[in-house]
Symmetry: C2
DNA sequence: CCCTGCTATCTAAACGATTAGATACGATGA
DNA sequence: TCATCGTATCTAATCGTTTAGATAGCAGGG
């Protein structure tokens, strides 16, 4: 009961108490555009402290037309990859003292536009779009409102929008080389149903890396564990399972693992797997997944940097190969 | 280039165009507190549509002292359990047309208070705290600001705060009974390092359910996959592994699974496992986890309902047993 | 024909901060 | 002593809504 709830403290209260005008208080609070005498500053600070003054960001936002809030639109927060990305974006924003408005578009372009609309009405200072293939282009909306927008992981390919991604080519090349090192001749790839955006890049890179192998198999399924699980069971039943597989996403890799387990297929003995995401989940599957870890933190940092108008130097961060067990190595599993 | 970015449309613009005052426009926009003649309403609506008017929520918030934004404070978004809970809370809010400000406290009470402070400065209409054991009590802050706060999963135990949880006793009883049904005599429990909040409830319930078994072992480790993984490996090396185990959380269960795999321990053959969370991840581990699924959606719904002042009837939702394979059943895999 | 009461609308004061322009006060130089 | 300048502060307009109070117009009862 230290403070009554009914009357929030305002600038005017502090000014009255300090015996000054609201202007000086404002100048003190934000090292304002004009200087304040040291003695006065002290009085103001003391008054503010005594009253427990907390600036009202809404009022500040109305006047100064900047809210310190950024909208984060997610295609699907259930997907650990997107969830991890979201976390890093939120942290990058936090570091810059900005608040994060979050929303789930659930792979629907309509809901995505809707969300962006609502974020813009809330006067966000910027938009980070973590979208998947289905994600529509919302650059027009943002532009109309004069709000900077950045896509992460996947975005419209016409040059108009700023898109932050990772260097997938190198990663895939490394993965293929590693499996070759284990003696595998034919290295299959499990991609998505349509292959647009980063996953298409990954597929292309794989195709290039196995160009010398006409039998390299391209598999496809949804990006869900369930889909990869049943695909694996089906292939195992028909004895059509490859011996070495690169999956486009961790979700698929995890589905492959559980499908293999259910079919009695030994990993990595009968089937070696490398996944191209490297979310935290991948470290504690059975067996632990060898992955190329997407540099999520660097991507988030780059995205947020782009929002502030700064153009970060490095165009695409490298995704390092993290060797664990699913590839056949006797990994770092303690 | 349909709309210039430099001049957002305001109420006054619409009023001018419709030949009315700003008051009527406001009345029309929100079926205002006063009626408007049908003809006028038409004119206003038309003008608004033509100009592409979008109300400025900041200005609205300043005047009406309600932002339509709720702050969601997370102990740790990396934990899939919390992440799933967060998703459901966000969806429950979305359904009520409210925006979600999200923030990660990272198990630190200081950062939690800090976040709450910043959310309150942003004039949130309510706070949802998804906190773990470490989480401090922030009821005082919220109360001082006159903002309703609800804790989900875990909260201060003095009656002052509203806490939404699930019925853990029933769930644990069911899990124990199920393992007994598989012929297990001794059922161990893997809890957290300190056991406060819901995990303590779960432990207590387990103790009650195995009261007739003086040898039932209580294990402890951090709530991380890594900790459970190495604990399992250690126990396996010392041949001290129980034959049936209930884990307090999915994270631990997944760590146990990967530890067992690494130690060559067969699950469920040598070690049967049931977990008490039931996050989506648990469906696609190898083997698939049998769990008591926490009613996250119901909890989120309850929490948001509480924020609006309504007191939802049901005090604690039931966590149903989802039978898969880690318990020894020939589960519903694929 | 005037007064009453109702409806539809307008005027203007909030909300709490920021900030440009006006002002007051000493100190300085001629 | 007076004009000049600089510093520290105050006054008040402004951001875009909401909404209570004032007002205008019209119908109906006496």
């Amino acid at each position: 009961m230290t403070k009554r709830a009914d009357k929030p403290i305002t600038l005017a209260d502090v000014a009255r108490r300090a015996g000054t005008s609201t202007a000086v208080v404002s100048y003190v609070i934000n090292d304002g555009p004009r200087p304040v005498a040291a003695a006065t500053r002290e009085r103001v600070l003391a008054a503010a402290a005594e009253l427990g003054y907390r600036p009202n960001r809404i009022a500040r936002a109305l006047r100064s037309r900047t809210t310190g809030v950024v909208g984060l639109v997610l295609a699907d927060a259930s997907n650990p990859y997107f969830a991890a990305l979201a976390r890093h974006v939120e942290q990058a924003l936090e570091r810059r003292e900005r608040l994060t408005l979050i929303g789930n578009a659930g792979y629907s372009a309509d809901r995505q536009r809707d969300l962006v609309d609502r974020f813009l009405a809330a006067q966000v200072d910027g938009l980070v779009i973590v979208s998947a293939e289905g994600g529509d282009d919302v650059t027009d909306l943002a532009q109309a409102a004069g709000v900077p927008a950045v896509y992460v992981h996947h975005g419209p390919s016409d040059g108009r929008a700023r898109v932050v991604g990772a260097d997938n080519h190198d990663a895939v090349r490394e993965a293929v080389a590693h499996l070759r090192g284990h003696g595998h001749r034919h290295i299959a790839f499990l991609g998505g149903p349509h292959d647009a955006g980063p996953v298409a890049d990954r597929r292309t890179a794989w195709r290039a890396a196995v160009a010398d192998d006409p039998w390299a198999a391209l598999l496809r399924c949804d990006y869900s564990r369930a889909a990869a699980h049943s695909l694996t069971r089906r292939l195992a039943a028909g004895d059509a399972l490859p011996r070495a597989l690169i999956t486009a996403t961790d979700e698929q890799a995890i589905g492959v693992l559980s499908g293999a387990w259910a079919s009695g297929v030994a990993v990595p003995g009968r089937l070696a797997v490398i996944s191209l995401d490297g979310t935290p989940e991948s470290a504690h599957t059975a067996p632990a997944l060898t992955v190329t870890r997407q540099p999520l933190e660097a991507m988030a940092e780059q995205a947020v940097e782009l929002l502030s108008g700064r153009d970060p130097g490095a165009p695409a961060a490298h995704a390092p190969l993290v060797i664990r067990r699913s590839c056949g190595c006797d990994g770092d599993q303690d």
